[in-house]
């Protein structure tokens, strides 16, 4: 017998906007989030062809500041944080000593000694604990999750729509800048998770509904986590918990490009060793050859496992990513995937699976 009621789900500042837009809400990492509004496919295509807007306020923020903020981040993050100019953005991994991945995250350099790192919702508390366990009085770590709502505006017309309500030029890709948007102070970041151009907006939660309505009113279509997942999978972006886990290292995950072992980050020795010897398995992208849709956890003949799978709205076929033995990882290699007892043929593809035309 269980006496514990299910924990109450957290709601973002945009909850009422989602309800008004007819969203289907689901539990995602303890947050009540829109998985779709009218349909995953329509929302997916809106982002590919025009503009979609996502509430990603469930993602967390950690601020690192102080004269040794850079040294602390250089220790924690896999990439070379020293290379990030003020107003710059960088993708990196948070690793354990053994190279297992705790999270994948974007960091934005807000000013000289101030950095904001965006965490995955399910990992936020663990990340915060990890950051905090290394803080000291010259490099301070603070939880900023309650201070920010986060909106992603993505698609070929996203910049035009957001620019029209901004008081200065939007930052270039992989840069961030503070400006006023529809009257509110917003950190605008030239980043995204869809394979399209666009921006991500970090703002005061109280300002988020007005910003949302303003951008939707200018033609952005509300899009849910369902479309976010199919878009990122076509673009072959990693999802923590699927492609990245504590049991997987950066090299096998194809993320060696954002690991700079010479910075001596935590986990760099393990990463260096795997890079030298080569990993046993590698993360690949695949397309199903024929009918069927592979899903997370489906085993692959000869070893390996699907980490994500869906029907690609743009390509009209089953696609996904999987870990396979390194010898099966070359593009063009045929695979056989056991999809709930049905053996489906697939082929290893170059990443990304979808590139914008």
């Amino acid at each position: 017998m269980s006496s514990s009621a299910p924990p109450r789900l957290r709601r973002t500042a945009l909850y009422e906007c989602h309800v008004a837009a007819g969203a289907k809400l689901v539990d995602f990492a303890g947050w009540e989030m829109p998985v779709q509004y009218e349909g995953v496919r329509q929302e997916h295509m809106a982002v590919r062809e025009a503009c979609g807007i996502f509430d990603v306020s469930h993602m967390g923020e950690i601020e690192t500041s102080g004269p040794q903020a850079l040294e602390l981040l250089q220790l924690l993050l896999s990439n070379d944080v020293a290379a990030v100019p003020p107003g710059g953005a960088q993708y990196g991994l948070l690793c354990r000593e053994d190279g297992g991945v705790l999270d994948d995250l974007f960091s934005y350099r807000l000013g000289g000694d101030r950095y904001l790192t965006v965490t995955n919702a399910a990992n936020h508390l663990r990340d915060l604990e990890w950051f905090s366990s290394h803080e000291h009085n010259r490099a301070r770590v603070s939880d900023r999750i309650d201070d920010y709502a986060m909106l992603a505006v993505q698609g070929p017309t996203a910049r035009t729509i957001v620019q029209a309500i901004a008081d200065r030029p939007l930052p270039a890709r992989m840069h961030a800048a503070s400006m006023r948007l529809a009257g509110s102070e917003v950190l605008v970041c030239g980043t995204g998770y869809t394979g399209e151009d666009g921006v991500e907006l970090l703002c005061d939660p109280d300002a988020a509904p007005v910003l949302w309505d303003e951008i939707v009113g200018r033609g952005a279509r509300p899009a849910g986590l369902g479309a976010r997942d199919t878009l990122r999978l076509e673009a072959c972006f990693h999802l923590y918990g699927n492609e990245l886990t504590l049991e997987r290292g950066p090299i096998e995950g194809g993320l060696g490009w954002c690991c700079k072992e010479d910075t001596n980050f935590i986990g760099s020795q393990a990463v260096r060793a795997v890079r030298a010897d080569g990993p046993a398995e590698r993360l690949i992208a695949f397309a199903i050859d024929g009918p069927g849709i592979a899903r997370q956890g489906n085993p692959i003949s000869g070893g390996g496992q699907v980490t994500s799978g869906t029907l690609s709205p743009c390509l009209g076929i089953g696609i996904g990513m999987a870990y396979v033995p390194a010898g099966h990882a070359a593009s063009g290699t045929p695979l056989t995937i056991d999809v709930r007892g049905k053996m489906r043929r697939a082929v290893v593809k170059d990443k990304p699976l979808y590139r914008k035309g």
Binding site: Q36, G39, V40, R41, G226, T230, I293, L311, G318, R340
Partner: protein
């Protein structure tokens, strides 16, 4: 169809399936999934019909419907043998969303125990299970 509907002339299984017993042959039934099932699933993007001749056992899965984000088992509301499948669904699986009780039917079955229909729900009882 955008609005929920549960026709009175169908029999329902609590796992969100319906059966339409043929007017002339009480041992022949057409099966499909309910409005609630297709709405919960979202746009159906893949349905692979089982082969004609496949035996269905009441209350057990006999097929899968897939949306972009999920796979859902289709439960047999009655026992029998598949005599016809809706071949049009392989090209247009979203017909299951658009017309779940009409062109979105899944299979036709020769029932092995027509009396099993006594265990199914009428539209009112089924909608009551949906909790308003």
């Amino acid at each position: 169809m955008a609005q929920a509907s549960y026709p009175e002339d169908l029999l329902y299984h609590a796992e969100h399936d319906w059966a339409r017993i043929d007017e002339d042959d009480p041992a022949l039934a057409t099966l499909g999934i309910t409005w609630y099932a297709q709405d919960a699933l979202g746009e159906v993007v893949f349905f692979e019909a089982p082969a004609v001749g496949t035996q269905l056992a009441k209350d057990t899965p006999y097929a899968e419907v897939e949306s972009v984000k999920a796979v859902s088992d289709v439960i047999a509301p009655l026992s029998g043998e598949i005599v016809e499948v809706n071949a049009a669904l392989s090209d247009n699986p979203a017909t299951i969303n658009e017309d779940p009780y009409g062109d979105g039917w899944l299979v036709k079955v020769h029932l092995t125990d027509p009396a099993e229909r006594q265990t199914l729900l009428d539209a009112g009882s089924y909608t009551a299970t949906l909790g308003g």
